[in-house]
Amino acid sequence: MKKLTLIAAIAFLASCGAESTPKNTGVYMLLDTSGTYREELNKAEHIIRYTLSRLDATDSFAVARIDTGSFSEKDIVAKASFDDRPSAVNRQKRVFAEQVSEFVETAAPSPYTDITGGLLQAVEFLNEKGTGQKTILIFSDLKEDLEEGYVRDIDVELAGFKVIALNVTKLRSDNVDPREYLGRLEEWRGRVEKTGGQWRVINDLDGLEGLL
């Protein structure tokens, strides 16, 4: 009987101390600020607020802009790793929402669109945070436009990542030749799934329930 009690106690302690896989969520959102897409930022703010409302304690969230060279911490508009205490989480969320609002009001359009650089930054950020679920939201028309000299022909390791393209608007040229639009989507799907990531597109922003 004593042995059984000892074994049970050890098993209980082991289960308490065992290294379990994290159950928190990490979200990195890329905001395209190039050209006319800058006008869509109000919608992006709506999505960010929705995402904030869905995140909980110990989750991580970062919002970064896509500009000429997006592989940089300087492009991060707001970031937070939520505290363990509910009151602190609420405070962090309010500050985050204020920072995003401020950015949306003052953001200047960028001449180029470096989505791959932003994606690399997102992967780096989320891997560093070590969250259980990793989601990258790309709020863009997915039309990459790199400045001369920037090398982005890189396979981004996306195994374990969910990449969701939001509000992928059709460009004027897409209307002329829809194959361009479809080809763009297909190209990004290929890039994501090639390295083990999951790809998804959400254009209807009223149906964000399944976003996270």
């Binding site: 308490c16 607020r49 929705y50 304690a57 110990t58 509910p86 989480v89 969320k93 309010r94």
Partner: protein, 477 residues
């Protein structure tokens, strides 16, 4: 099958041959087969019967044990009630009759005072008028000495007499007034005596009614001690009633504990973190549960120390000084935990408002964010704090139904076990009888394919019988 049908060139003949062979074989081993079936059936019957008897014995043992438990519990409960009644009588006697000497003295004093006042209040008749004797003397003086100035003397005497009469009347009036005053003074004494005697009467009546109750309780106690069936029956039914009532109250208490849990589990996340887990459970939930369990434990100890319940004999047997110390310690811990709960309930409300305001802000609903901290929300805050403070004390009283539940559970479990054993015993007895009849049935079934040889056997036996009868008749003739 083809082999069996191929022993002759004609399958039908082969089949017939097989049937004849099998029937013949079955007929030859019929006696042995019947004996085997009979033996198996008897064996099963006996086994089931033995098992049934064993269960019946266990049932009787259990019933006796249950009866003993019931009687012991009933005896203990009755002793407690009688002890309490005696305590009450002791208290009445100590409180009221201990003052009997003072009461007696008070009554004697009152009566003495009344007697004294009464004696003093006796109506003293006024003195006979002095002038009668004086007139007689003067008359005698006139007749003897023949004095001429009798009129003036009489006039003076008249005046003196009038004065004396006035004085006497005044003294009489004063004495009457004093007596009336004394009689008035006697009234409160009478009233006091009457009140005292009424109180004494009430006390005596109370003692008499308590003695009647004790007589009844003693009668019940004697019934229990003598293990009367009626006492067992009454105890058994009251035990069942106690079980269901206490179970119902415990369910209510569990509801209260659940509400208490929901009040403190959420704000507990502020203290121990909202995401850490112990096993599969949130640490905050476990911490809240532990607080509630500690409160219930403290409540149990408090009730034990107050000798309201007797779940832990060790606490009841502690010296009075230690017990009183324990009462204060447990009450203090309970009070502190209740205060902590009230604080947590307040924190819960604050967190809720904060969360509502944040959600409204994130939805872009500024108006809702403002109303989330409205002016009337203090009512819910106060209500939650009040509940957080009161529920731990309310849960203290769980000890009473818990004790009743634990005690009655023994009886109820015993009764249940007896019912189960009785049902099993009956089932085994039925199975025993069934196996016996199954043996008979099997024997009949065995004989069905042997109807031809059996019929022949019967015919031959009948023929042989009639032969024997004929032979015996021939010998007799």
């Amino acid at each position: 099958m083809s082999f069996m049908l191929g022993i002759t060139p004609w399958p039908v003949a082969s089949a017939l041959l097989w049937i004849i062979l099998i029937v013949a074989a079955l007929y030859l081993v019929r006696g042995t087969a019947h004996k085997t079936i009979q033996a198996a059936a008897q064996g099963l019957h006996r086994s089931f019967k033995v098992a049934s008897r064993a269960l019946s014995r266990s049932e009787k043992n259990l019933e006796a044990r249950n009866r003993d438990v019931l009687l012991a519990a009933g005896r203990e409960a009755k002793e407690r009630i009688i002890e309490r009644e005696f305590d009450r009588i002791n208290e009445t006697v100590r409180k009221d009759l201990a003052n009997y000497s003072a009461l007696h003295r008070s009554l004697s004093e009152s009566i003495g005072r009344i007697e004294k006042d009464h004696q003093e209040a006796v109506d003293v008749p006024p003195d006979p008028p002095g002038w009668v004797k004086a007139v007689e003397s003067v008359a005698e003086m006139d007749a003897k000495e023949g004095r001429a100035h009798v009129g003036s003397i009489l006039s003076d005497i008249h005046k003196s007499l009038l004065r004396a009469h006035k004085e006497a009347m005044a003294a009489y009036h004063a004495a009457s007034a004093k007596r009336h005053k004394l009689l008035r003074h006697m009234r409160p004494d009478w009233r006091r005596i009457q009140q005292t005697l009424t109180q004494v009467g009430k006390n005596v009546d109370s003692l008499l009614s308590r003695s009647v109750t004790i007589d009844r309780l003693m009668q019940e106690y004697e019934d229990i001690v003598r293990s009367h069936d009626r006492a067992v029956s009454v105890l058994s039914s009251s035990s069942l009633v106690n079980f269901f009532v206490s179970a119902f109250v415990l369910c209510i208490a569990i509801g209260g504990a659940t509400i208490n849990f929901s009040l403190i589990a959420r704000p507990m996340a502020e203290m121990v973190g909202g995401t850490s887990l112990i096993g599969d459970f949130r640490t905050a939930d476990i911490a809240a549960l532990v607080i509630i369990l500690v409160e219930i434990s403290m409540g149990l100890f408090l009730m034990e120390s107050l000798r309201i319940t007797r779940l832990f004999p060790v606490i009841g047997a502690l010296p009075d000084k230690t017990r009183v110390r324990m009462i204060w310690i447990t009450f203090s811990i309970l009070f502190l935990l209740a205060s902590v709960e009230a604080g947590l309930a307040y924190m819960r409300e604050v967190l809720l408002h904060d969360e509502l305001a944040t959600s409204a802000l994130l939805r872009g609903d500024g108006a809702a964010a403002a109303t989330a901290t409205g002016e009337y929300l203090w009512i819910t805050t106060a209500a939650q704090m009040g509940m957080g403070f009161i529920l731990p004390f309310a849960l203290t009283f769980v000890a009473i139904p818990l004790e009743t539940f634990v005690h009655s559970l023994r009886t109820v479990v015993g009764l249940l076990a007896i019912s189960i054993i009785r049902a099993l015993s009956l089932a085994l007895r039925l199975l025993g009888n069934l196996s016996l009849y199954l043996g008979l049935l099997l024997k009949q079934v065995y004989d069905i394919p042997l109807f031809v040889p059996l019929w022949l056997e019967e015919r031959i036996a009948a023929a042989a019988d009639s032969h024997r009868r004929d032979d015996s008749l021939g010998r007799v003739g």
